[in-house]
Structure formats: C-alpha cells, structure tokens
C-alpha cells in the first residue's frame, strides 16, 4: 500500500468520525460552549434585559456573596439536602433493597409497589405530598392526631419543610432499591456460607461480607445522589409555591423558598435573580457556582482510577 493511499484513508476515517459526531459537536458548541462563555461574560456585566449590558467588574460577585439575602440560606439548604437527605435516601434504599431480597412470597408484587412512586412526575408527586402533609386537612396529620402524636406543620413550617421534602424523596427511593437489589444478589454465596461456618453473627455477615462487596455501589449511589440533590429544583419550588397559596396568573410573583427561605436551593436562585429580579449578571454568578460544584462531583464519578463510570473499553 503506498503512502498516499494510506494518508487518504486516514483522512477519510477522520472525516467519517467527524460526520458521525457532528450533531453532538454542533450541540456542544451552540448549547454548551457558547452559553458557558456567555455566562462568564455576563457575570461581569450589569444587564437587566432592556438597557444594553454595561461592564460592572466584580460588582455582581460581591453582591451575590455579600448583599444578596438569599445566597447563604440557599447554600445551607442545598448542603442540608446533600448531607441529610442523601444519607437517609441511601440508607433507606439499602434497607429496602435488603428487605426485598429476603422476601420470598410475592417478591414481584412488592418490588413493583416499591418502585412505582419513583416514576411519579416531580410536580405530581409534590402536589400529592402538599395535599397529604397539608396541616389543616391532610390525611397524614389527621392520622397522627388520631394516634395522639403532635402533628407538624410540614411545608408551612420552616423547621419541617426540608424534612417533608426528604420524606417525599424517601418515597421515591425505587431507583436506589433496584441498583442495591442487583448488587446484593451479586454477592458470592460461598462467602456467606464460609462466614456462617465461622459462626459469624448476622451483623458480622453484613459488616464483613455484604458491605465490602457492595461498597462501590454505595459510593455510586452517594455521588449520583449528591449531584441530584445539588440540582434539586422542581420539588422545593413547587412545594413552596403551593404551601404559600400562590394564585395562578401572577406568573413570576411568588415568595421564593416559602416558608422563610427554608425551601430555597441554589438552582432556584438563578431563576429568582434572572427572571424575578431581572439581574442577569448576578444570576450568571450563581450559575457559575452551581457549575463548579456539579463538575467537582462529576469528576469524582469519572476518576480514572477508582472512578465509578468506566469510560474505557
């Protein structure tokens, strides 16, 4: 084969690769690279959407971190969800996964029942829980009061709004149940038998056989859970709007994070700054903070060694 044909062959193969990748390459440029650069640019500009943008240096940055009243509460709430909600969800998902592997009667029915809530569209699930946990007429508080347990105000009480959200996310734990179930069924039976022979207690079997075998999956669940919790937007927003009794038609007029900013999360700040206050520059600052946090955790997911998603062949 002559050098010339080899070169044309190479070039043709590169062109072919480009052709196949082209939809995504265009998408990446237009819907990610350009807006990303633009977001950085606007974070240093004052822009209200009407008057042309003007250079404002680091004003937006200092405003967001120092004067904007919602930034730190929202960051705190997001961290609360990342730590407490994710921990509870992983523990609960693991528990339900273990339970389902132990149930020998009607496993399929149980599994489907446990999984269905996960499929409920976020707005529909939030509507359902806003009703279920409604302090005045909701069934949950009716039952609690019948039993004689003091009923909390849930989405109307700043101390209870995040636990109420957490309860809803625990209800939709089906995704974790499925991956834990698969992982638990993959644990080699011999190891359990060996532990049994050595006279290990149930706790020891869990601690020294189950846990080491499923730790990568736990790690995966934690990291993807953290990423999802940081992006948590629809549920807290809708829960707050419904609880505060917003009348439709007012469009963007609602109190963010009702009650008392307790359901405000970082992604909601982008909406609040950009679409309620028309301060696009500051909205871009928050967007960049959100981007940095998301990418840091995504990097965890894809580390070359010990990464959770293997990119190699």
């Amino acid at each position: 084969m002559s050098a010339l044909t080899l070169r044309t062959k190479r070039r043709r193969s590169a062109l072919r690769t480009l052709a196949f990748l082209s939809p995504w390459l265009i998408g990446f440029a237009v819907f990610f690279a350009y807006p990303m650069i633009s977001t950085v640019y606007f974070s240093f500009m004052h822009y209200d959407g009407f008057k042309p943008p003007t250079w404002s240096g680091t004003k937006n940055w200092t405003y967001v971190f120092e004067s904007y009243p919602f930034f730190w509460p929202a960051l705190r709430n997001t961290l609360w969800l990342v730590v407490i909600m994710v921990t509870l969800r992983v523990l609960f998902g693991l528990g339900i996964g273990m339970l389902i592997t132990k149930i020998k009667t009607g496993t399929g029915v149980f599994r489907t029942l446990f999984y269905l809530p996960y499929l409920a569209p976020p707005v529909a699930a939030t509507m359902a829980f806003a009703f279920l946990l409604n302090p005045g007429t909701g069934p949950v508080n009716s039952i609690l009061e019948k039993i004689g347990i003091p009923a909390p105000g849930w989405f109307n009480d700043p101390n209870w709004s995040k636990p109420a959200l957490t309860l809803m996310f625990l209800w939709g734990v089906g995704d974790l149940m499925v991956i834990f179930m698969a992982a638990l069924l993959d644990v080699p039976k011999e190891q359990y038998e060996a532990a049994e022979l050595d006279g290990a207690s149930a706790w020891q079997r869990f601690r020294f056989v189950t846990l080491p075998n499923i730790s990568p999956i736990i790690m995966f669940a934690v990291v993807t859970g953290v990423i999802a919790a940081m992006q948590c937007y629809t549920q807290p927003l809708v829960a707050g709007k419904v609880a505060s009794g917003v009348i439709q038609g007012a469009g963007t007029m609602f109190e963010p994070g009702y009650p008392e900013h307790s359901t405000l999360t970082l992604p909601q700040l982008v909406y609040n700054l950009g679409f309620q206050r028309f301060d696009y520059g500051s909205a871009c600052v928050v967007a960049l903070v959100l981007f940095a946090l998301s990418m840091a955790f995504t990097a965890l997911l894809m580390r070359r060694r010990g990464g959770l998603i293997q990119a190699g062949d």
Partner: protein, 297 residues
C-alpha cells in the same frame, strides 16, 4: 445449610428441641421480614390511595379531614378535562415527547455509534464530555440560552427552545445508546465491511435492527422527560398558557382551583396515570435502560 427463609412446614413428628428452636427462629424471621414488607408496602402505596380517594370526594368533603369519600364523584374527572387548557397541555406534552423522541434518536444514534465502534483520538475525552453534560444542571446555561431564544429569535411562549436542542444529540441518550452498542460484537461490523457496506449502510442495515431495544429505552426516557420537565416550560412557555405542558399546567391548576383539593388530586392522578401505564407496557425497555446506564432511571 437449609434455606432459613423457606416457609416453615407444619410440625409433623415430634422434633428434637434443637430442631424446634431452629424452626421457631425461622418462623419468627419469616414473620418479621413479611411484617416489614407490608409496612413498607403501605408507605409506598398509601399516598397513591389517599390521592385517588380524595380525587373522588365532593368539594365540601375534600376540605374536611375524612379519608373515604361519602359519595363517589366520578364527575370530578370530567370537570378536570373541561378545564380550559387541560387538553391543550396534554397535546403539548405529547408533541414535546413525540418530536423530542424522533429528534433525539435521529441525532444521538450516529454519535453513539461513533463512540462505541470507531477508534479515534479523543474518543475517551468526548465520552467524558458527554457524561459531564449529562450531569449539568439546566440552570447553569439558562441565562444566555433564554436571551438567545427570547430576545434574538423571539420564540418565548413556545416549546421550540426545549425541543430544537434535542436535534443536536442529547447527552443522556448518547450515553445510553453507546452503552447498548458496546454490547453488540464487533464481528457484525467487520462482516458488513467485508461484504462491502459503507459506514452508513452498516449502521442502517445491520446495527439499527439490533439496537431496537436501546432505541426503545431512549424513546421511553424522552417520554418521561417531557412528562417530568418543569423548568423548561417555566422559563420559555410561562407567559403563554397555550404552550404549557402537563407538569407546568398542573401547578397552575392548583393556583386556579385554590381550595378544590379534589379537582387538583384528580388532575394529579391524570398526570401520574400515563407514566405508570407506560411503565407497565414497556417495562422491558425501561429495565434495559436502567441497567445499561446505572444512572438515574
């Protein structure tokens, strides 16, 4: 080691004390596991049950603390359908799901094929970028995107800003399809080459028919996506109720029917039901997608 969790058989012969304690232990364990199972089942199903029961109450009863309807008001569902706009939201959601699926499949299959079967420099980097974009919160780039669609193209008040980008490959779908195509042995591609098929023909004639389950999973997730998306319609369609989708409309429904929890719950049931029905009919494709990506279902 016998199966501890077998159902205990009823006692036939007098057994040794040791055997009896073992049996009793197994029975107790069986009871404990299944009680926990029933408790969990109640936790997962009762919310659906209460929502459904409330959707059948009369207006006045929905404001009481009752759990069971006195009279079964099936007319509530007709009232929801008669709400101005409800059918339009339904139609918009189906357009968003349908068009979105077609565009996503058309644009994502070639990209996924290249990532799965071609060898080229920067392949791993490309894959990493695809995965990173999958994890990107939509709020990060929404400001410039909104300014672009609304101020430059004057397309706010429509769903185009969330449908058109799907024509340029959707990161999650690319990843899912790539995972699926990785499971198809390379021999098929090589054999097609030997028979003189070009890349495009190999993809269309050999790979696509084999990739049907993967494509079905992508279509399914796109359908769920259209059903679940709230942020997209909120940003681009909020000013025009004619462009609302079900998820966005449902929230406003509550705002408009301020105290009618019964109607709101009926609407909620109508938004949940299609998703659950589709899941039952397409369970296989769904499980395929979940196991292939190991990421969000």
């Amino acid at each position: 080691m016998t199966q501890v969790l077998d159902r205990p058989v009823e006692v036939r012969s007098p057994a040794s004390p040791a055997e009896r304690t073992a049996r009793r232990k197994a029975l107790l364990e069986w009871i404990a596991i299944h009680s926990l199972g029933v408790a969990a089942a109640l936790f997962f199903t009762l919310p659906f049950v209460f929502v459904f029961l409330t959707s059948l109450m009369s207006d006045s009863q929905a404001l009481s603390r009752d759990l069971i309807p006195h009279t079964w008001e099936w007319a509530n569902y007709r009232k929801v359908f008669d709400t101005p706009g409800f059918l339009t939201w339904w139609k918009n959601t189906l357009i968003y799901a349908g068009l979105g699926t077609v565009l996503t499949v058309l644009s994502s299959v070639p990209v996924a094929y290249a990532l799965a079967k071609f060898r080229f420099r920067g392949r791993n980097l490309t894959l990493m970028l695809v995965i990173s974009m999958m994890m990107l919160p939509p709020q990060v780039v929404v400001i410039p995107m909104y300014l672009f669609w609304a101020k430059q193209l004057d397309l706010s008040g429509t769903l185009w800003p969330i449908i058109v980008p799907l024509a340029f490959g959707d990161a999650f779908s690319i990843f899912l399809l790539r995972q699926f195509l990785m499971t198809i042995p390379n021999e098929y591609v090589d054999a097609a080459k030997v028979d003189g098929c070009g890349d495009l023909r190999t993809l269309l004639k050999i790979i696509l028919p084999m990739a049907k389950p993967g494509i079905a999973a992508v279509a399914l997730f796109q359908f769920f996506n259209a059903w679940n998306d709230y942020f997209g319609p909120q940003i681009y369609a909020s000013e025009n109720p004619g462009a609302w989708t079900l998820s966005y409309g449902l929230e406003s429904f509550k705002g408009a029917h301020h105290t009618d929890w019964n109607l709101t719950m009926a609407a909620t049931v109508l938004v949940m039901a299609p998703v659950i029905l589709v899941f039952f009919f397409a369970q296989k494709a769904f499980v395929e997608g979940v196991t292939l990506t190991g990421v969000k279902g």
